[in-house]
């Protein structure tokens, strides 16, 4: 099969456009159920959180809500946005910036009324990070 250069260019351009379209379609398919939505405890309380899909929950860790299960690596805490609260369970080593009273973003999904977190993200902007002073930091 021998194509004249002009035809060949036409074929190549069509392939390029098809590839572009293919990329977009593939992306849409991938995004349809794999993008994670940001929600707040208020959204969850109002029933507005998508179910069965990955979600990112943002808010503050409520003081006094952090407890540890006997296995030593699973924790429970409450995320609050000062209007509503959501209970969270997480199994893993918590990032260094995670503590009661500070901001948190957890990624996972709702199981019943409990948010099961797969990852806890540290919101890292060093300009807004208060230090722990040696000697005055209290164990929790």
């Amino acid at each position: 099969m021998n194509l004249r250069p002009k035809h060949q260019r036409l074929v190549l351009v069509s392939l390029a456009v098809l590839a572009l379209g293919g990329a977009v379609l593939l992306a849409m398919w991938g995004l349809s159920d794999r993008a994670a939505y940001f929600v707040t405890p208020t959204d969850i309380a109002a029933g507005k959180a998508p179910h069965g899909q990955a979600i990112r929950l943002g808010g503050m860790v409520e003081r006094g809500s952090l407890t540890r299960e006997p296995d030593g690596v699973t924790i429970h805490f409450t995320v609050s946005d000062l209007k509503a609260e959501t209970p969270v369970r997480y199994r893993g080593i918590t990032p260094d910036l995670f503590k009661e009273g500070s901001g948190v973003v957890a990624e996972g999904r709702m199981e019943g009324g409990l948010f099961v977190a797969d990852t806890i993200l540290a919101k890292h902007d060093e300009r807004y990070m208060p230090p722990q002073m040696a000697g005055t930091a209290t164990p929790r």
Partner: protein
């Protein structure tokens, strides 16, 4: 062939439009205080350093609007903001401060170096009042009206270009 060559340019144009939109309406990831329009929580902080009175919520409900600045001696943007606060003070804005997680000698050194525009400075060792105010970092400033209601919050250092906005918020809080 003819039309396809403009496709990349068109797609790029759409992406630029999205970028422009995003820059014009910046993502507000910062945890803003939910307390705007609400009364200050009741608190009483001891002096952050000797020689200066501490800060209570009653001091912020005396009939005139006041600016409350949350800072710390170890916070570099606070140093950058200091001259602007001095300028605001010269323009007649009454300013109080809450120094978080700080040592008296460090606060004294900071004020000696950068100037002291504050009438009162409360020492908040565990950031308890800071968090009660809905602040999540330093520096942050709050415009509080004469009745002790929070009217505005400024997250980050107050820079030259923010001064008109702060002055206006103070006006509106009268």
């Amino acid at each position: 062939m003819s039309r396809a060559r403009f496709l990349p340019l068109i797609i790029f144009g759409l992406l630029v439009a999205a970028g422009v939109w995003r820059l014009a309406t910046p993502k507000d990831d910062r945890v803003a205080s939910q307390l705007e329009g609400q009364k200050l929580p009741v608190f009483a902080l001891p002096p952050a350093l000797p020689g200066k009175p501490g800060l209570t919520s009653a001091d912020l409900a005396t009939g005139t609007p006041r600016l409350v600045n949350i800072f710390a001696s170890w916070c570099v943007p606070c140093a950058a903001e200091a001259p602007v606060l001095m300028q605001l003070k010269r323009q007649g804005v009454p300013i109080d401060a809450i120094a978080i997680r700080d040592k008296p000698e460090d606060v004294a050194a900071f004020l000696a170096q950068y100037g002291d525009p504050f009438t009162r400075i409360g020492g908040d060792q565990r950031s308890q009042v800071q968090i009660a105010l809905g602040s999540s970092g330093v520096p942050e400033s709050f415009v509080v009206d004469g009745k002790g209601v929070i009217r505005a919050q400024h997250i980050g250092p107050i820079m030259e270009q923010d001064v008109p906005g702060i002055l206006q918020a103070m006006e509106e809080a009268r």
